[in-house]
């Protein structure tokens, strides 16, 4: 066990955990930030996507010891009141079916739009291809990203 100081959603946190613990489980088990989801544990599905200094990262494969001063943003911290343009667009397009993958989808999309405010279809595909939606809401996800990009 070791003590780690983390900056998550703009706030400082201290956790005492095994250094190999992935950030995903630090968030979910130790900090009760459960909006970040477990899907595969090997960075193949994107359900656990967070931002590390603004970059989309798969938190299931990111040991806590590898995060030093970088800022972590989770879905809970993406916006103050759940009103990020993507969150609003997601509701406008009524994207979710089961909803489980959607926070990861939104986090991947937010990182995309930050770097590329007006992505083409191909760029959206490329950025979002790591996020599986088993319910098959891909068309609505893409439409919501485009709506958010326009706003």
């Amino acid at each position: 066990m070791a003590v780690f100081n983390l900056t998550i959603n703009g706030k400082k946190h201290q956790v005492d955990v095994d250094p190999t613990t992935p950030i995903l489980w630090v968030l979910r088990d130790h900090l009760n930030l459960v909006g970040t989801k477990y899907g595969c544990g090997m960075a193949m599905c994107g359900a656990c996507t967070i931002h590390l200094d603004g970059e989309a990262m798969r938190s299931c494969s990111l040991p806590v010891a590898q995060v030093s001063n970088q800022k972590i943003t989770t879905i809970e911290g993406l916006s103050e009141n759940g009103d990020h343009p993507l969150q609003k667009a997601w509701l406008e397009h009524d994207v979710p079916q089961c909803g489980y993958c959607q926070t990861g989808q939104i986090m991947s999309a937010a990182a995309l739009l930050k770097d590329n405010p007006k992505p083409s279809d191909e760029e959206i595909d490329a950025a979002m291809n790591g996020n599986i939606c088993r319910c098959g809401t891909y068309i609505r996800i893409k439409a919501a990203i485009k709506t958010a990009a326009r706003s």
Binding site: D29, G39, C40, M44, I75, E76, M128, N129, C133, G136
Partner: protein, 756 residues
Amino acid sequence: MTKTKIASGRRSFLRNTLFAGSGMVIGFDWLAQQSLAAAKDSLALPKEWYDFNAFLKIGDNGLVTIFTPNPEFGQNVMTSMPMIVAEELDVDWKDVRVEMAMHDPAKFPNAAFGQFTGGSRGIPSKWDALRKAGATGRQMLREAAAKAWQVPVEEITTSNSVLQHSSGKKATYGEMAAAAAQIPVPKEVKLKAVKDFKIIGTSHKNVEGPKIVTGKPLFGLDYKVEGMLIAMIVHPPAFGMKLKSFNDASVKGMPGIKDVFSFKTYNEGQEKGGFDANAFPELVAIVGNSTWEVMNAKKAIKAEWEPFATYNETVAGFGGNKSQVKVPGGLENSVDHLAKMKEFASKPGRVVRKDGDPEAAFKTAAKVLERSYSAPHLAHNCMEPMNFFADVKGDKVKVAGPLQAPGLIEPTLSARLGIPAENIEIEMTRMGGGFGRRAYSHYMVEAAIISNQVKAPVKLMYTREDDMTNGVYRPAYYATYRAALDKNNNLLAFHVKAGGIPESPLHANRFPAGAIDNYLAEDWSIESNITIGAFRAPRSNFIAAAEQSFLDELAEAMKKDPIEMRLELLRKAKANPVGKNNDYDADRYAGVLELVRDKSGWANKPKSKVHRGVAAYFCHASYAAHVLELTLEDGKPVVQKVTSAIDCGIVVNPDAAANMTEGAVIDGIGNALFGEMPFKNGVPEKTNFHNYRMIRMSEAPKAIDVHFVKNEMSPTGMGEPPFPPIFGAMANALYKATGKRVYNQPFLGDKQELGM
């Protein structure tokens, strides 16, 4: 469970963030958010709630709580079911809040299907009850108003949560709720005419949308209570194996590990129910403080496994029919499965239906078209792996988590722990996908057994690998179709012989049965120890692909347009049906074909380099047809557009139903192209998403255009019917693109290009 709760915290999620002994610093932002949310919520909460019935309570300020009886896994019943109650109550939708009901057979009776979300039966099975619940509430409000205003009840009208009389008297539902709750429940109520629907038939947003997009705790895996431990299981690496021994010495000392033990999933001689699928009767449980610690111990544990011998077990199906089921010993291979299926396909099957004299017709045929189709086992791969919370205290059980059919698993849990059903409380969380997998909730029983052993609340979590390799798969299937044609390419006879491991996908009385004078349907099945279960449109999801591919090839042999050929058969089935028990409505079937033909512009030639395929199917009491258009880019099929036509009766929530159709289309294309769970020596060869290929955004159709047939029939299935025919539409479009027919799923598998 019948108490009226006023507190806003309807679930015990994350009640306390402090874990005993973990010694960590807590993040407060979540707690702060919760209290903000609670404060906001409480402003809108009434001082008093008044219970009207199982589905409905009304607050003194006019807020209406509608309980949704069936668990939600994405088909949007949590929105559409309350919409039905709200419609008949005549309440303003903005005054409605929705809560997931607890499992309660007394409140929500309906035999085994009580609160079952599956089989596309959610809305159809609750349609009347939901309408009556709303209409009853409205009637009680009207009677209370009539009494208060001393006017005949017939003169009281309602609109948008307001009661009104021509004298000018007015009251809101909230104002009249206390008095209305005292009115005796009417025995009969008048329901609205379909033409008067204001809420039903108009798109309403998912009521849990805001929580989903902000990452609020909704799912089973998010469930937490104070002092809760994490549990995982270790199951045999192969079907056909059982536990021999395990060594817990190295694991017990690992950090955070509380206990390691083996347990039997059923009691000795315990009779199984029809949904008690479980391949592995003995498992090893690892229990500890945190997920990561338990995951590490799970990797470290040493266990030995051994093959089991063939055994029989008693399974009780619906209606109490008991049967002996043989579970064969042995380590099975998909390669052998296919060989065995081909062998069975070459022998006479069990005749399920015979019309006319098909044998004679085939003998006299000028031409016989014969084709065989196969599909492998599939894993459901719900995005949220199987998990459940359990807290067993003495003879009381609290369980909470994702499951489709609480009423089907409760008796199993009760029998296994020897605790009466009335002492078992089942809370249904939102599910991260279901697709049939969560109708088999053995993991809930496992969680309760573990909690009972460690005397603490536990959350059992399957890793992705556990989820993918623990069974309940879509069976492997095989079907052979034959058609006899005369020299003018007229259809003389039709023969289908289909089977699978371990069940046949045959639906002998579906189209084209009834449309062909000489018709023969046979089935067969092969025993297996690989556990199978319902997978979105069970059996239909394969047989539709085979049949619709064959009809396409048959239409070509008959030199007919594939839609017109089907319509001709349907006209015949309507005008002069052959045989009995044809279980489809020829007009409605033709209706979706005509609609998809018109909406897809089928009469026009496809654009350059665009290749089209059509397919239709009837299952779960609904009709669906698709036209799929694709191009080939570097040998890879790219679906440009799918046009869908659906007849599911009244469409309760049109945009959500369109979403469901889009999802079914994408799911179907993904499974048709990539879906496969192969076995080698009993071992599931795919274990996670690195080798189990799932359809991704770049592979999804660029557009899906969904159309519904408008009618006033009571709603029928929606979650499943659009799924089966898309496999056929895909196969038929691939043929147009490549000139080669595809017969064996998956059409692409792990390849990037066709024909590689």
